[in-house]
Amino acid sequence: MMKKLLFIALPFIFAGCDMFDSHPYDGQVTGQKSVNAANIARIEQACAGKTSIKFATMGDSQRWYDETEMFVTALNKRNDIDFVIHGGDLSDFGLTEEFMWQRDIMNKLTVPYVALIGNHDCLANGQDVFRTVFGQENFSFMAGNVKFVCLNTNALEFDYSHPVPDFQFIQDKFEEETPGHEKTVFAMHVRPFSNQFNNNVANVFQDVVKRFPKLQFCLNAHDHHLQADDLFTDGVMYYGSASMDKKSYLVFTITPDDQYTYEVVYY
């Protein structure tokens, strides 16, 4: 009987060494960390010197693992995309495992990607885990001659304990002299006038964003459906990607003639 029992028990115990979870919110991260930094290096290297770039945006992949995997498969079939921007909400409950499950799916992309922080990613100690797995919640990178400024705009999650959006960060990015910086794109999870955004500063935010060299457009996610709106009726477009269950993503092409095109792709 004892032998039999050990026979059943031992494989279980040794096969699943990383199955001994302390707690769903333990913050114990295994596998790749600081994903954004590594991928930004890849993007900047691959796009260096380019004046025409093509990238995909998607987001809100929380608890849609099957659909996110389908997106990865669909995107890997094409070879014209330079990189992917995940607009945030990788997790649904802020569980530590959720960030790693999503990272492992997105890591199957053949092109590099960056992930923004969504409001669900801030739940419980999610933002600590996000920071560990992906990196800082405000960051920027260059793709060819375009500077992408990616922001945490989930103000409702922070109770004024953090500046959200962080105008000091935006100011630093404005003053930073990056060689080859000609055009700018802003990316955020929550767009102005959402109940998650700090709407007291919505107009101020827009004024600051518009100071950047050749602002092309702004990108967002969060609302789970496709959006293309001139939010402030000032000519600056906000494009929102749908959630993963809608099985679509956006593709943007920024061309040297100061034009850009975008398309919605269903998979």
């Binding site: 009987m1 004892m2 028990a9 114990q28 499950w101 799916i105 739940l123 100690n125 600590d128």
Partner: protein, 228 residues
């Protein structure tokens, strides 16, 4: 001397109060004496040994448990009570510690666990095997970042779940070694392992074929020391 002047009234009054107080305290004292006698007779077993579990002593846990992982904490320490005809029920309480790992704070958890152990198989006089243990546990985690229901700042139903309370279900197996009767401090020691999952992992697994059992099943190991 007048018997009922104001002054004498007051004296009589205080004498009466003193007397009644004395009677009351005498009665209480009697009661205490009675109770003490009762406890003493109750806490001595027929063989003359001291019975720690008499009266309120029934609340003293019958065993101590240590459990590693299992989604309740890195390490949980607790105790509990067994009951039922064949002692097939066990209720445990645990205090757990979760190191901060990549987050900025260490955490404390509390777990209330109900076990059901339907079969006990004696291998020999020393070893006993319980081929199935199963049950549920409620786990709460301390910290400002965790809430039972969403704080007021959110619109109603913005996040329809609790980050503070997890409901877990488990199955497992146990092996028990019995010490010499009366000679050792502990009656027996039990090794157990369990496989468990929680409500949020289950919701995620139900709606996705991508997630495999090794993703949403959590393992744990534990020891139980039987004291009474």
């Amino acid at each position: 001397m007048k018997l009922f002047t104001t002054k004498t009234k007051m004296i009589w009054c205080s004498v009466f109060m003193l007397l009644s107080c004395a009677t009351v305290s005498a009665q209480t004292r009697q009661k205490i004496v009675k109770d003490t006698v009762l406890i003493i007779t109750d806490s001595i077993k027929p063989n003359g040994e001291k019975n720690y579990r008499a009266g309120w002593g029934i609340l003293i846990p019958e065993y101590a448990k240590v459990q590693y992982a299992g989604g309740m904490a890195f390490m949980s320490i607790g105790g509990g009570w067994d009951y039922g005809k064949k002692k097939q029920w066990e209720t445990d309480v645990f205090l757990g510690f979760v190191p901060h790992y990549s987050t900025d704070k260490n955490k404390i958890t509390f777990t209330l666990k109900q076990n059901y152990i339907p079969w006990k198989l004696d291998v020999n006089s020393r070893f006993m095997v319980e081929p199935l243990t199963c049950g549920m546990y409620l786990n709460t985690i301390w910290g400002r970042d965790f809430w039972v229901s969403e704080p007021d700042k959110y619109p109603n139903g913005y996040y329809a779940f609790s980050s503070k309370i997890r409901v877990n279900a488990f199955v497992g197996q146990r092996v028990t070694y019995n010490f010499n009767k009366g000679r050792d401090y502990f009656k027996s020691v039990t090794f157990f392992y369990e496989a468990s999952t929680n409500d949020l992992y289950l919701i995620s697994a139900f709606t996705n074929s991508y997630l495999k059992p090794e993703d949403y099943i959590v393992l744990s190991l534990g020891l139980k020391l039987q004291i009474f």
